[in-house]
């Protein structure tokens, strides 16, 4: 019995060291994860059943109310989106002027939460997207309100996400108001982040929004992370104590967004958007031509002849569009037609 214990203990110790120090066990682990994921599905089953049942029996008036609310929300969002599309284009062009390769648009994938780490002292969740969906190690994860964390383990159909508030997690942030940089570390409390090494005299105050700075090369820049809750100036301490509340609903969100950063260069993106623009223009021309054709029933050949040169003309202004701002940077005149290209870029 003692011998067997010794063998098993040594085996476990070796496994632990290998797992902690080397990468060689990762594939085996992810395969094992594939076998054991159904446990999470099963364990979560009652919750999903309950959700399904409540959805089934929601009263009609509640649904109507919710519908009304969502419609109003959609309207508000659309209004903001209209503005955003123009601003995004403008931003892209201004950045191109600055030769900066920063990205504005990223591709996202929606994942669903299927499990929470049973250990109450770690903040990790399991989501239903994995290696087969293109999820990769270190991928940023968001919810509708802000950054949630990053992927730390990828299995074929699921992956594990480390949340911002885990005690082992830190993220580089910026104060949105003035660009002050800092590191926000998790505290093990789902409602609390702490900023490390902020000078006592730094310009930071209650209510400041902290956004990701992108300096760690892991999270995309500009996503909201937390809101400063209190700043304590203690003359006995070398640094100010800054506490913040994460904007993401870390322990409430059921749906998460996985962000894929766009790897195209600014030139490529400019060409792509120009091409998309060209296509849209051509379609518009064609539609106009068809309308003309329907109206002018007698002279059929004439309208057909006109759209052809117009279509050929269309591409010439489009490719120059990205270059145009070089002379007039803040000119928004070229933007109104652009929002249509948004769909093509994603």
């Amino acid at each position: 019995m003692g011998v067997r214990l010794l063998v098993l203990v040594v085996l476990s110790a070796t496994l632990m060291v290998v797992d902690a120090r080397f990468e060689s066990l990762k594939p085996m682990r992810s395969q094992l994860g594939l076998v054991l994921t159904p446990f999470y599905w099963l364990a979560d089953f009652p919750v999903r059943m309950w959700d399904g049942a409540t959805a089934q029996f929601t009263s009609r008036s509640e649904l109507l109310g919710e519908n009304e609310k969502l419609k109003a929300e959609a309207l508000l969002m659309q209004r903001r989106l209209q503005k955003l599309a123009a601003l995004t284009e403008q931003n892209v062009r201004l950045r191109e002027l600055l030769n900066s390769s920063s990205l504005v648009d990223e591709k996202v994938l929606v994942g669903e939460l299927i499990g929470v780490d049973p250990n109450p002292f770690t903040h990790r969740i399991l989501i239903d997207k994995g290696g087969k969906d293109g999820v990769f190690l270190g991928q940023p994860v968001l919810d509708a309100r802000g950054l949630m964390g990053q992927v730390v383990e990828v299995m074929p159909y699921t992956s594990r996400v480390l949340l911002l508030t885990d005690i082992t997690h830190s993220i580089p942030v910026q104060v949105n108001r003035n660009g002050l940089r800092a590191i926000a570390s998790g505290t093990g409390n789902p409602e609390r982040l702490e900023l490390r090494h902020v000078a006592d005299t730094a310009d930071i105050k209650e209510g400041d929004l902290l956004v990701s700075s992108g300096l760690g090369q892991r999270f995309p820049a500009g996503y909201p992370v937390a809101v400063v809750k209190e700043v304590v100036h203690d003359s006995g301490q070398p640094f100010a104590i800054v506490r913040a509340v994460p904007t993401a609903a870390l322990n409430r969100s059921r749906y998460v967004l996985l962000v894929f950063t766009d790897t195209r260069t600014p030139e490529q993106r400019a060409t792509d958007s120009a091409e998309a623009q060209e296509k849209v223009d051509r379609q518009a021309e064609q539609k106009a031509a068809e309308a003309l054709q329907n109206e002018g029933a007698g002279s059929a050949p004439a309208p057909v002849a006109t759209p052809a040169p117009a279509g050929a003309d269309a591409p010439s202004p489009a490719p120059t569009a990205p270059a145009k701002p070089a002379t007039t940077p803040a000119k928004p005149a070229a933007t109104p037609a652009k929002p249509a290209t948004q769909g093509e870029r994603r």
Partner: protein, 162 residues
């Protein structure tokens, strides 16, 4: 025991699978801290009841399953469950004679030790819980032991597992 062929072994595996399931079942936040050590509890019953069938190798394999499920270092829970099984195997002849409350008391010590090792290994990988709450699961498990034991004995005798 001698001369009996293994019978209804699936019951053991099924109950261990159930233990894995229970160990990841969602719980309200305030109960999460005191989540019972289901794999250790159910394993302990089978080790006490059928020491010739369920031993340290079974415990080790179950522990590997827990590790994958929890995403901890491979081998961490395997090591802990092996240690628990070793202690219970060493004590099993005495433990079987004890009344229920005394069994619970001994198991409290065993599970407490297991949680201590868990804490130590977690500290090695850099996340040490800041409170003493890590002993709570051991206490809850020890309190649950009589019920688990009675329930499993019922299943054991009804299905004549050997």
């Amino acid at each position: 025991m001698i001369g009996l062929r293994p019978r209804n072994g699936w019951v053991i595996w099924f109950s261990l699978g159930l233990a894995l399931l229970l160990s990841v079942a969602p719980l309200p936040d305030f109960m999460e801290v005191g989540r019972p050590l289901w794999p250790a509890l159910i394993l302990t019953y089978w080790v006490l009841a059928l020491p010739h069938r369920v031993g340290m190798t079974t415990a080790w394999l179950l522990g590997l399953g827990v590790d994958v499920l929890y995403g901890t270092l491979l081998g961490q829970n395997a090591l802990i469950l092996t240690l628990v099984t070793f202690l219970v195997l060493n004590l099993h002849q005495r433990l079987r004679m004890f009344p229920m409350w005394q069994q619970s008391l001994v198991l409290l010590v065993v599970f407490g030790l297991a949680q201590l090792v868990q804490l130590w290994l977690n500290a090695l990988t850099g996340n040490r819980p800041p409170t003493l709450a890590f002993v709570l699961p051991a206490l809850v498990s020890a309190l649950l032991w009589p019920w688990v034991s009675v329930a499993l004995r019922g299943v054991h005798q009804r299905l004549n597992v050997n």
